[in-house]
């Protein structure tokens, strides 16, 4: 689960990490309140969306830049007016962009140097890894590709936790001296503590900066949490912003369905994540394009199957549906009943191909045959994919 920059910075602040003073605003009245707190100095206006590349982004009405550094409250007000409720397109949002519903207004900072600092959970070693670089403010993947020697990595044992010598190791590697070493150690300790206590998967501060007086602060922050652990942290759960999620994905999560919207036109409904991905693959290998990933899980019932059909059909791009169920513990006749009930319950406007296999498959196929529901049965996954791709192409 991702959160906004302003939420991430508030959390970091709670863990003792210095961040520039700032205020979130969702309307012009809150913008005025923020400006009254910030005074007449340099002000930064930042669009809050769950995507990177905001500074270089362009709004759909042509206004440039989702991050503006301005010198006066008037200029800040103007920038805020342009950004609020406008749609920002960045390298990470896709062409449709994201509507900006929250701004973050912060005090400016006289930057001396920009650093990169992140902690991430590495699946290979099953340890947290600190990643740091003197080349902050830019795309860290580029740094890793072009100058890997500038990337500092230190693994932290989950049972030992972060140790002082590791903080010093990173601080010296980044070239800090004197009091800055202490400041940096304090920041890293806070970031790690937050990462670990809150079950984060990633905490990224880019850039971490030094100002003209040599003081360190976190200028931008990106944090994402382990969705499996949110139940342990109700405070983090409250930071979820439904505006940032696809409405179909929100609806799916209410029914315990794993759904991810894609941009193709053949919807699929499958039990099991691996088989769901494999079903998307086979649609593609027959020249079709999957409209979604949808895993109904091992114990799907009639209600879930109905909900799944409704979600699939709410996507206007969908021109056909492929249902692929390998009945194991979940018996095929139960699934078939669910499909029939759902098909009668929702307005099925596109071709439907159903492939059932596994426990009680003959009973399941019989139910489908005798239901009167307009669908094409298939005997194998390959046949099912071939038929649905053919049907969708001949209709369009």
């Amino acid at each position: 689960m991702n959160i906004h920059e302003y939420q991430a910075k508030h959390l970091l602040q709670e863990y003792g990490v210095p961040v520039p003073r700032g205020y979130a605003a969702t309307n012009s009245r809150e913008v005025e309140t923020a400006l009254s707190h910030l005074g007449d100095e340099m002000i930064v206006v930042k669009a809050q969306i769950h995507a990177g590349g905001r500074g270089k982004g362009t709004f759909t009405d042509g206004y440039k830049g989702g991050v503006k550094v301005v010198k006066t409250p008037e200029a800040a007000r103007e920038a805020a007016n342009h950004m609020l409720d406008n749609t920002l397109v960045t390298a990470q949002t896709g062409p449709e962009g994201r509507k900006v519903q929250t701004l973050y207004l912060t005090e400016g900072c006289d930057i001396e140097h920009e650093y990169y600092l992140a902690i991430v959970l590495d699946r290979e070693t099953a340890q947290s890894v600190i990643i740091a670089s003197t080349e902050g403010g830019m795309d860290i993947e580029e740094v890793a590709d072009k100058t890997p020697e500038k990337l500092i990595r230190v693994s932290v044992c989950p049972n030992m936790g972060l140790r002082s010598h590791q903080c010093r190791q990173v601080a010296f590697a980044l070239g800090f001296k004197g009091d800055q070493v202490k400041q940096f150690a304090g920041i890293l300790t806070g970031v790690y503590k937050m990462f670990w206590e809150k079950n984060a998967m990633l905490v990224e501060i880019n850039p971490l900066v030094t100002d003209k007086d040599g003081n360190l602060s976190a200028l931008d922050a990106k944090v994402s949490f382990d969705g499996n652990a949110i139940f342990q942290h109700p405070d983090i759960g409250q930071l979820r912003d439904l505006n940032e999620e696809d409405p179909k994905e929100i609806e799916a999560s209410k029914h315990n369905l794993a759904y991810i919207a894609l941009d193709g036109n053949i919807a699929c409904m499958v039990n099991g994540a691996g088989l769901a991905m494999a079903t998307m693959d086979i649609i593609q290998s027959f020249g079709g394009s999957p409209a979604n990933f949808l895993d109904v899980g091992g114990g799907a019932n009639e209600d879930q199957v109905t909900a799944a059909f409704k979600i699939i059909l709410s996507d206007p791009n969908v021109k056909g549906i492929l249902v692929n169920i390998f009945g194991g513990i979940m018996k095929c006749d139960v699934i078939a009943n669910g499909i029939v009930a759902a098909a009668k319950n929702v307005d099925m406007t596109v071709p439907l191909v159903v492939r059932l296999e596994g426990t009680n498959v003959e009973a399941g196929k019989k139910i489908l045959r005798e239901s009167g529901v307009a669908l094409t049965p298939a005997d194998s996954l390959a046949q099912a994919a071939e038929i649905i791709v053919e049907q969708v192409q001949s209709h369009s």
Binding site: M201, D226, G272, A273, M277, M280, I282, S380
Partner: protein, 294 residues
């Protein structure tokens, strides 16, 4: 003799009195698995369904009933603790079916598994389990799709494994042991561990490895296969059509070494290791039968 489980396996079920635990324990007993005990703290001394004694602790199940394998069906919040309890009781094999275990919990469990005094192999979490057809089924897979034989199957995914197993069975080829290692980022047994065990098993003649995008588990297994495995191996990777970048952030992509983790990279590693590739999930068994006549 197959690997890890057989007719002599004595299973304890952690979470036996729960709904999921009860249902799947019945299925496993019907298949012929020897379930010697269950564990539900506070319900020690009771009998589950008049058939299986319930203990308060795993240690008690080992001492009183000679359990030598454990399966875990407890909710995600308690799964890591249940695994650690089984490790402390020196159970040689622990299979965690539970889905949704926090990754941080698994990081701690993995470190415990690496201790020198650990006698446990963990399979899972978030996996269908393990089966040696005709002898012992531990987990949630449908028993009837399997058939005793000499092909070993390893997979990160549940239903996709059933797909491959069913293809084998329909073509007349049985399985020695099928292991679902689970789809979570941090798990107990890797593709490499499973390939090594099947390679060393005299009763396994051929191997099917089914992977997914993400991580480098398949690449590591392929490096081993290239150097050490003479048995025929076939493979498939799910997720070639999945969009990139719906996972973590930049730092996450960097840690899993640039370029690694994609379906193309994994297929390439398989090709390089001499693995027979199924480009299409409906051809997994056929990919093996191109190089293995059985």
């Amino acid at each position: 003799m197959s690997i890890l489980v057989n007719k002599d396996t004595r299973l304890v079920v952690q979470g036996i009195t729960g709904k999921t635990g009860t249902f799947h324990t019945q299925q496993c007993i019907e298949y012929g698995t020897k379930v010697v005990a269950g564990v539900t703290p506070g319900k020690g001394g009771q009998m589950w369904e008049d058939k299986v004694p319930v203990c308060n602790t795993v240690a008690e199940a080992v001492k009183e009933h000679g359990a030598n394998a454990s399966v875990i069906y407890v909710p995600p919040a308690f799964a890591a603790d249940s695994i650690l309890e089984a490790i402390e009781a020196d159970i040689p094999l622990v299979i965690c079916i539970t889905e949704g275990v926090p990754v941080r919990d698994m990081a701690e469990v993995r470190r415990r598994l690496e201790f020198n005094d650990t006698k446990t192999r963990l399979i899972g979490p978030n996996c269908p389990g393990i089966i040696t057809p005709g002898e012992c089924k531990i987990g949630i897979m449908p028993g009837y799709i399997h058939k005793p034989g000499r092909v070993g199957v390893i997979s990160r995914s549940g239903t996709l494994t059933y797909e491959a197993v069913w293809q084998l069975t329909q073509r007349g080829h049985g399985q020695s042991t099928c292991i679902g290692i689970g789809g979570d980022p941090i798990n107990g047994t890797s593709q490499l561990d499973a390939v090594r065990m099947l390679n060393e098993d005299p009763d396994t003649d051929a191997i099917i490895m089914i992977g997914e995008i993400g991580g480098s588990a398949e690449e590591e297994a392929c490096a081993y296969i290239k150097e050490n495995v003479k048995k025929p191996v076939a493979g498939f990777i799910a997720g070639a059509s999945a969009p990139k970048g719906r996972t973590m952030g930049h730092a996450g992509a960097i840690v899993s070494a640039s370029g690694a983790g994609t379906a193309e990279a994994k297929f390439a590693a398989m090709e390089d290791a001499g693995v027979s590739i199924a480009r299409n999930p409906s051809e997994i068994a056929d990919a093996l039968l191109r190089i293995y006549k059985g």
